[in-house]
Amino acid sequence: MTLLTMLAVVVIAILRQRSLFGVVILSGIYSFLIASVLIALDAVDVALTEASVGAGMSLVLLLSTLHLVKTSEIKPWRSNLLPLATAFVVGAAVVWATLSLPPFGSPDAPIHKHVGPRYLQKSIEETGVPNVVTSVLADYRSFDTLGETTVIFTAGIGVMLLLRGRRKRGAK
């Protein structure tokens, strides 16, 4: 609960922060907090991923970008009303949707009754892997993971395509 509250505080800080460097560092803090929350929620694999991929890698990339663009100040806000309204409508929609959901941590929720349990019961028998997240990731739903690897591949080639080669001033 404390962690969750801290998350909210960090987001407010990011909102108000005018220095770009500050924003980037805060986003790193944010990622590590999320990773801690995820551990509390039993999602250790996800937490490790968020800490390495989310916090580590995107922080490195953000800082490299800052180094390249050499801008540190953010201009003051633009008109606020429309974005604020949009964001709140989305939030309200989720509130409305989640109020009727099963309470937190209840074992009777539908997701614990269908599909999920089979992985827990059969993982060792069928795949010999006790870490169920790994067996689902790399076997039961391994096609998703192939897609995910392809996403990384796409981003890698894409970024190199954009950043490699001689730079040309705006062609026009």
Binding site: A97, P110, I111, H112, H114, G147, F153
Partner: protein, 497 residues
């Protein structure tokens, strides 16, 4: 042989993926091109066989990794997505011969190999979305196609292409995230990710958690609405299509938004249609209103555009309005019109954008003022352009007429007389913007920019003429397109009339 047939669903997606991997190893553009060409030409064969199987033997279910759905991921191919696969791969194959010279002209030489890699990845992603029967798998492939699309757009020569790509990235990612929120809500209330399985469980879930189900519908609609450029979420589209390289514009305009529409229709009828009568939901009305707004507002903007590429981009937004209109009407003729327009619009826009690509290849501009009298210089290209343009209006004898015929029939059947007039009215607007272009192209004196232009080499002209032929052929012989679309609509609507 039967072994091979059984593996077709996987091949449909895995072959372009492997192609992209091979291309990524290439250094030179030539090898990369030939691998891509081979793969792209193979794809329509595969999807043709799949569609044929789906027609004669009913839906195909392919279990990836050998795991039974809903535990594993399933490829579920019926008449509807068979048709979508066919369309995507056919367009993918047709733009490849065109690409050789056009890409050589527009993309730096050292980037060509990876350009083709991105192109194949985009194709992989689109085919993957269309083929999959798993809601989350669709998201993963949606991201593959989107990420590659952002890069492809950013490779345009104008620096504005960069900003267009960035904005598309922001809006596309918000859209994809909305889609994931919707999937998450559905998963929490049904416990499943398989689209068919969710459909069979959703009625029970809607009884217990009605709010979550409705919100899921809203999130999926808005998320996919961003991807498919549903008015007013279309703001990324005109700039992206205008500044992207010609081949990319032609390919994306014909396929990318269509696949998102396919997914929306699949969810609207295949999932939520199992719990509610889609027509009674406010979502259907909202889609109707927005579609009509798109048909008119975007067409008005198209009329005032001076850049033909941009005009056609707005025309796309307007035409997407027709497709979503059929989804909003949600009866059999209406939905048939929607599905058949999905395919027909791909042919027309493919032909139009490729013809423009040929113009850009010759004179380096697509501004209306530079095109004065170009019809006499590039007669074949411009004939194709004109005929496909007539298709947009809905002239009898072209595919556009068939789509509108079904849409009007759907509006009649639903008792929505106003819609009939609106469809006709919007066609008049199309007449204005197409007519304006046609007038400049054929009836003005040849300007200095157009004077030196000639028809492009056969490798570029052939795809354009083929698409033109398709626009006419399927405008007369409708059993293949509209016939299949009718079956697909019947399948989606299930018990509904």
């Amino acid at each position: 042989m039967s072994q091979l047939i059984a593996q077709l669903p996987a091949l449909q997606v895995v072959v372009p993926l492997l192609g992209a991997v091979l291309v990524a190893f290439c250094r030179g553009g030539r090898t990369a091109y030939f691998v891509s060409l081979l793969v792209s030409l193979l794809m329509p064969v595969v999807s043709g066989l799949l569609l044929w199987q789906a027609i004669i033997a009913g839906p195909i279910s392919y279990h990836l990794g050998g795991w039974q759905p809903p535990w594993g991921i399933e490829y579920h191919i019926d008449v509807f997505n068979g048709l979508v696969l066919m369309m995507v791969s056919a367009v993918g194959a047709l733009v490849m011969p065109f690409a050789w010279r056009s890409v050589a002209d527009e993309i730096d030489e050292d980037k060509q190999a990876w350009f083709y890699c991105m192109y194949l990845l985009c194709l992989t992603g689109l085919l993957g979305i269309a083929a999959t029967g798993d809601a989350f798998n669709a998201f993963v492939f949606l991201e593959i196609s989107s990420l590659s699309a952002y890069v492809l757009i950013a490779l345009g020569r104008d620096r504005r292409a960069l900003l267009a790509a960035f904005r598309y990235l922001i809006m596309g990612t918000i859209g994809a995230t909305f889609y994931v929120i919707g999937i998450g809500l559905l998963y929490v209330v049904t416990g499943s990710l398989n689209i068919v399985d969710i459909g069979s469980r959703i009625a029970g879930a809607a009884a217990v958690y009605p709010h979550a189900v409705i919100a899921a519908l809203a999130f999926i609609t808005v998320g996919l609405g961003l991807k498919l450029a549903l008015f007013p979420l279309h703001v990324w589209l005109p700039n992206a299509y205008t500044y992207a390289p010609s081949v990319v514009t032609a390919f994306m305009a014909a396929t990318a938004t269509k696949v998102a529409i396919y997914l929306l229709a699949r969810f609207a009828f295949g999932v939520f249609g199992q719990a509610f009568d889609f027509r009674t939901l406010p979502v259907a009305d909202i889609i109707l209103v927005l579609s009509v707004a798109a048909m008119f507002v975007a067409a008005f903007v198209a009329i005032s555009e001076t850049d033909l590429k941009r005009m056609l981009a707005y025309s796309s937004v307007s035409q997407i309005g027709y497709i979503t209109l059929g989804i909003g009407i949600a009866n059999k003729p209406g939905l048939t019109g929607s599905i058949v327009h999905l395919v027909n619009h791909a042919m027309m826009k493919g032909a139009l954008f490729l013809a423009l690509g040929a113009v850009v290849y010759r004179i380096g501009s697509a501004r209306l003022s530079d095109l004065a009298g170009i019809g006499r210089r590039m007669p074949w290209t411009m004939t194709a352009f004109t005929i496909a343009g007539f298709g947009l209006i809905g002239t009898p004898g072209t595919v556009g007429f068939i789509s509108k015929w079904y849409l009007v029939a759907g509006a009649f059947a639903a008792g929505q007389w106003v819609l009939v007039f609106l469809i006709v009215g919007s066609s008049l607007l199309a007449l204005v913007y197409v007519g304006r272009a046609v007038e400049v192209i054929w009836f003005r004196d040849t300007g200095p920019a157009a004077a030196r232009a000639t028809d492009p080499p056969p490798s570029m002209l052939a795809p354009i003429l083929l698409l033109m032929a398709a626009v006419v052929y399927f405008g007369v012989e409708t059993s293949l397109t509209a016939g299949i679309a009718e079956r697909a609509a019947a399948l989606l609507l299930g018990g509904l009339p």
